[in-house]
Subunit: 428 residues, 2 copies
Amino acid sequence: MSKDNFLPPAGMRDIEPAAAEIRNDVLSAIIANYKKYGFNSVETPCLEKPENLIGKKGGENEKLIFKILKRGEELKETLKNGGLEENDLTDLGLRYDLTVPLARYYARYKDKLPKPFKVFQTGSVWRAERPQKSRYRQFTQCDIDIIGDPTPNCEIELIYVTCKTLAELKIKNFEVRINDRQILKKISRDCGINDDKYGDFLISLDKLDKKSLEDIIEELRKKDFNEEVLSNIRNMFEGLKSGTKNINLLSDDENSDEEYSKAHKSLSSIIDTVKNLLSGINIRFDPTLVRGMDYYTGTIYEVNETNGKVSFGGGGRYNNMVGSFSGQNISACGFSLGFERIIDAFFSTAAGNNENKIKKAALLYSSDKDNYAEIISYCEELRKTYPVVSIFDKQKNISNQLGKLKEIGYTHWGIYNHQATQIAEMAK
Amino acid sequence: MSKDNFLPPAGMRDIEPAAAEIRNDVLSAIIANYKKYGFNSVETPCLEKPENLIGKKGGENEKLIFKILKRGEELKETLKNGGLEENDLTDLGLRYDLTVPLARYYARYKDKLPKPFKVFQTGSVWRAERPQKSRYRQFTQCDIDIIGDPTPNCEIELIYVTCKTLAELKIKNFEVRINDRQILKKISRDCGINDDKYGDFLISLDKLDKKSLEDIIEELRKKDFNEEVLSNIRNMFEGLKSGTKNINLLSDDENSDEEYSKAHKSLSSIIDTVKNLLSGINIRFDPTLVRGMDYYTGTIYEVNETNGKVSFGGGGRYNNMVGSFSGQNISACGFSLGFERIIDAFFSTAAGNNENKIKKAALLYSSDKDNYAEIISYCEELRKTYPVVSIFDKQKNISNQLGKLKEIGYTHWGIYNHQATQIAEMAK
């Protein structure tokens, strides 16, 4: 059998012991924090009915869904009837986020849940994206959501808990950028963009973290934006960047409507309150923040490395999606942490570098002369000093054996000698 | 939209907050125990290449695999070429256990892993079985395995750690039943069963927990077992049941070969050593224990409710499967806990019945007069006494609100009144 057969599927990963242990510790810390701050958990299956996954994020995203082939008689029937369309052949799909399943869950249980419902979920999601560095086809998300509260208290609490959680994980040097879809709508109108081109404008603007303003303008030119509008866009974003235009200067003119005024007031209050609650937090209005998802209706935010490109997570208000299941208008707001990015950041901290790790001892024995039951009993004693103790039969090449044990996180070792066993630290 | 659309797929479950919290606590306790006893964790993706899933457990099990439809150009190409077979249409499958992915993982990394490799895995697995009570299509498994040690020390340690883990979870009244495939082979020969009918014999014998001995004999009669053999089988199992034949009486006659003698010696030593290590443990030889999986080669065991039908888990030695990936002969032995059964048992214990639960307080406020930032700060103080504090805006119908909060696990509540807030226990 070829070596390639031992690999996991493209874009997916095996996690080795030392990393698996850190991932479990970090996930436990995130969950403990979410619980402490008053969020309750739910679990939903990894598979959903296709009709619940499709169309919640627009047609383009449907291609990302891993779909499950029908089975048995149902598959035979479909093939016999010449059903050769994807949606005829499949009856389930792997979830691509935790928000859609939550919306379904809420629709099912809303009558018995408290209002607002403060909920966290952690779990794997799958996206059939082209595999590339640091982009995986299976990855873990950690979400907090507040359903049923229309006030900016949601945004304040979600940002607060997320920042507290990152701090708990010893991640420093992060900033929160915040914007509102209603402000983007006003910017669009102020620049003279027709409402029917607003979507195109957002798609291009979303790339401003990777491309220059001139590249974006060139892209919009190809999308038939006229020169006057393009010039307005250039002036607007140069002004916003240099500070001659800011969130307050945007607030008063003939393009302001009630929705916008509300968004402007709410955004100012969120920024001020978060600054007040968390001294030293870097939170700022960023009019170029778009966030890709179709479903956002108001505030949007992202937390990323200060002066860096790594995003630790993001979220926003999505007032229509929960309601799209139950046919009611339901407020909802969420913040999703990107677990994989956090793990990468965590590995660069002291905790990730094996400092302050718990003592993990490997006890070696001779299978030809030692009594295994005695060793097991002895380990129970040893665990009072070393919280983790593993038993291994001593190999001929001890230095090779110790090297492999160190690699998977053992900090101490010893050779079993009844009550006289000596435990030593692993060599550096 | 119909109410049915809010349901998860058939055979899968939404887990509500109170249950989700207990599941997380129980899983954390299992993981902490596995770690303490010296097992290391690995993670593998939920999806595997079909060729790694198919054929590892025999053809019948292939029907249980949820398979992923090919996507994009590859799917178009397949359909154009008239590829209407299941295996043409799919390129991935959801894992149905954690053992097959572990065997692949070991083949990939064996050169850098310590010998033996003591490993635990927890995670979801999927089986497209007909949904029925307490049988789910997505469920959680918790496995410990020892790879690369051919001695019965593996069995001793796996049974020891599993019993310790059940005790840690306050599950009492369990027993361990143990057998060996080599002993089953000897029983089969002693009854005069031809080697080519040994598989049929095992399949029928495996049903002895649900059917009577006479039903089994009737089933074997239909499979063309002759009357002399059937009479031998009846005498053998009646003798084993009444104790006139037992593990020792089976040991000495002309049908004993080296494999059998080894198995007999090893089984006696495992039973004696485990009894020695764990006072009060109920472990016994059970010649009717078969365990369904094809891949077992030696010892097999199961842990279940004493005098009950609920199985908490099982496992055994599977010496060929790990090797089937790497083409080498590699010893392996495992014990898998059935998480869903353990959760059911846990719910019937004190811990599951909300006793000794951590204090979880709901703080109600008036959204029209209270300042949210102040409340958030106040909660930080409150968490010194109540480890979990959630904020909710006070509803008109407080008793209804408190009822819903109690339902999802809140033990205490209060109405925010600055530094004079009173926190009370929830009414019984």
